[in-house]
Symmetry: C2
DNA sequence: GATTTTATTGTAAACGCTTACAACATTTTT
DNA sequence: AAAAATGTTGTAAGCGTTTACAATAAAATC
């Protein structure tokens, strides 16, 4: 069933059918109805390829994320997909993993598919070296690139992010002001934002004239699923004699793992050990006590990202950077 | 940059370039190299629309799920996307929500995009009435439909599922054999599998001559995020005077909410109340004690689903139904 | 070396749509 | 009522591929 079949049955030209389908130009109401009825009757659906070929756009946005099974990324996908659909766009998803080559390949794939824009979810798309980030610049030469929770200066690259640095600094300072002495910072590899948060943590200590010690900033290298691994990791630090009365983390799963460690070692939370998570995910409602966690306003960010995206695609001038402020949501795992 | 540009620069016809790109037919090695070099040099990427128009396939699989932010569904997306990519396919994602109309619309969208197959993740794609399921049959007339964790008899529809019925029955029987007397079953709306699990629960009771009581089978209507809501829900049952010494659930978040209820009411788990979750998700590692949960082998199912899918697309005869067995993973929330 | 067979390449017709432009019909203006 | 303006529709030329078929080149056979 093609546009020709419909045009024949409706007794009009294919151009008219096309016009009815696209709704743009004027079609006489009676003609429109006639065509619509035929379309309805035969359940005709235009071929998206042919349409894409003609328009060179398929109203499709490519979404990249390292790992859709990560709680946080999954939620972002959900929000963004939903908002895009509300705007008449749909999305092609690629989970790239954390390897740079896979990311580059995925970008190429999306470009060859002529997506109208590419959304990259998570700071792990930004690498340490300019050469490794060249792929973003290259892609930006073709389509707008929207980064969620990552910061990158480049024309046609739009960033929507949360000031993780400040949020972590604030939370840490609250702990310090509340009397915490030895604060352990726990982050996971896999992302730039972990380092940003770390910087915020360090700045909080420096502001209060607390010397930075390397062993108080630990990177957990395992997966975001491996809560037991985190527990073991913290346990090993503890066994080595490291003393801490608070833990600030870059992700809720690290915090939950830390709390499991505490429980197993009969360390009371929050009286003997305070714990702060990040992302304010569902995990923060599962532990006992519930987890204080930094909320970085994911939904707001996603809404904003799509708004900027649609604006850009419709030729409006859009701000290249939108920064939200995170906020510590206090629950039972802290005394502050 | 089109295939014409490349053909001109390489001094061959577009057909030869196309053959090089598709690798199928014979091309003289020297010619191939010459063309490849030009392609490399100019970074040429074929236009996916035109290709799709020609081939009427874009090596794309449509993935539907109600809500990518659901832990379980997100993991499934992840596994499936990954496996598909390994097989040279990519995926278009649509999150449909739980509304039937939205689902139908999404299916149409995917069909108009000429996806090679559609994967539906979750039992919520199966409705209660045959009319409401017609959309699946219609879609199956065009492309193979792969259902994950749902059961539907129809030509060209392939189901990969876990025997939730039996898994729940087994787990419940284990509780009964372990001495549990008043077992509450807690499920969430939104899915057929919840009802299947419920049936398994009921069968376990019947097998042990325990009369079924309506108030011991409760449906939580809130979101999968709303752990506090679950807690309140169980609390209200408790306040109404319902006595239970075990809770079997259809999802880990219900189990975690139940445990939060128990803690708040100083009911000891597992000595006074045993709790069993479903999905064996990350949530089962967050609570204290850790949650016993039924594992329904999601990864295995996803691997199998993609295997069946690829087989079907390559014209191999594939089993229409593959059923895995779930298994109770015992942790601290049960005494069995 | 002529003939047959096989490997390689080119030509041209789809694929199903959009849209500029032309043609025609209708309404408004004079 | 003719002329001009406007509204509606049709014609045909792309869009960038794939691929059947034809044409040519190379290899094998006689």
């Amino acid at each position: 069933m093609t546009i020709y079949d419909i045009s024949k049955k409706a007794g009009v030209s294919i151009a008219t059918v096309s016009r009815v389908l696209n709704g743009s130009t004027n079609v006489k109401p009676r003609t429109r109805k006639k065509v619509m009825d035929i379309i309805e009757q035969y359940g005709y659906k235009p071929n998206a390829f042919a349409r894409g070929l003609g328009l060179n756009s398929m109203k499709t946005i490519g979404i990249l994320c390292a790992d859709a099974s990560d709680l946080y990324l999954a939620k972002a996908i959900y929000y963004i997909e939903q908002k895009l659909r509300e705007n008449g766009y749909h999305s092609v998803l690629c989970c790239t993993g954390y390897d740079i080559e896979a990311k580059k390949e995925s970008v190429n794939l999306l470009l060859s598919q002529h997506v109208d824009a590419i959304v990259m979810i998570g700071s792990n798309f930004i690498m340490n070296t300019p050469e490794d980030n060249q792929y973003i610049k290259d892609a930006a030469a073709t389509v707008p690139i929207m980064l969620l929770n990552a910061d990158f200066d480049c024309n046609n690259v739009y960033c929507t992010l949360c000031d993780d640095y400040k949020a972590t600094q604030d939370a840490t300072e609250q702990l310090i002001n509340g009397g915490a002495k030895d604060i352990l910072y726990l982050y996971n590899s896999n992302s730039y934002s972990g380092l940003k948060k770390l910087a915020g943590f360090q700045n909080a200590l420096l502001t209060h004239d607390i010397p930075l010690k390397k062993q108080f900033m630990q990177c957990f290298k395992g997966s975001h699923e491996d809560i037991d691994g985190v527990k073991g990791f913290v346990e090993s630090l503890h066994a080595k004699g490291l003393k801490f009365d608070a833990i600030v983390t870059s992700d809720d799963f690290l915090a939950v793992g830390s709390m499991n460690f505490a429980r197993a070692n009969h360390i009371k939370v929050p009286s003997e050990l305070q714990v702060i998570g990040y992302n304010n995910s569902i995990l923060s409602h599962c532990s006992e006590p519930e987890l204080s966690s930094i909320d970085n306003r994911l939904e707001d960010m996603c809404i904003q990202l799509v708004k900027t995206l649609i604006g850009t695609l419709t030729q409006n001038e859009m701000p290249q950077k939108t920064i939200f402020s995170g906020e510590l949501i206090k629950r039972g795992s802290t005394r502050i």
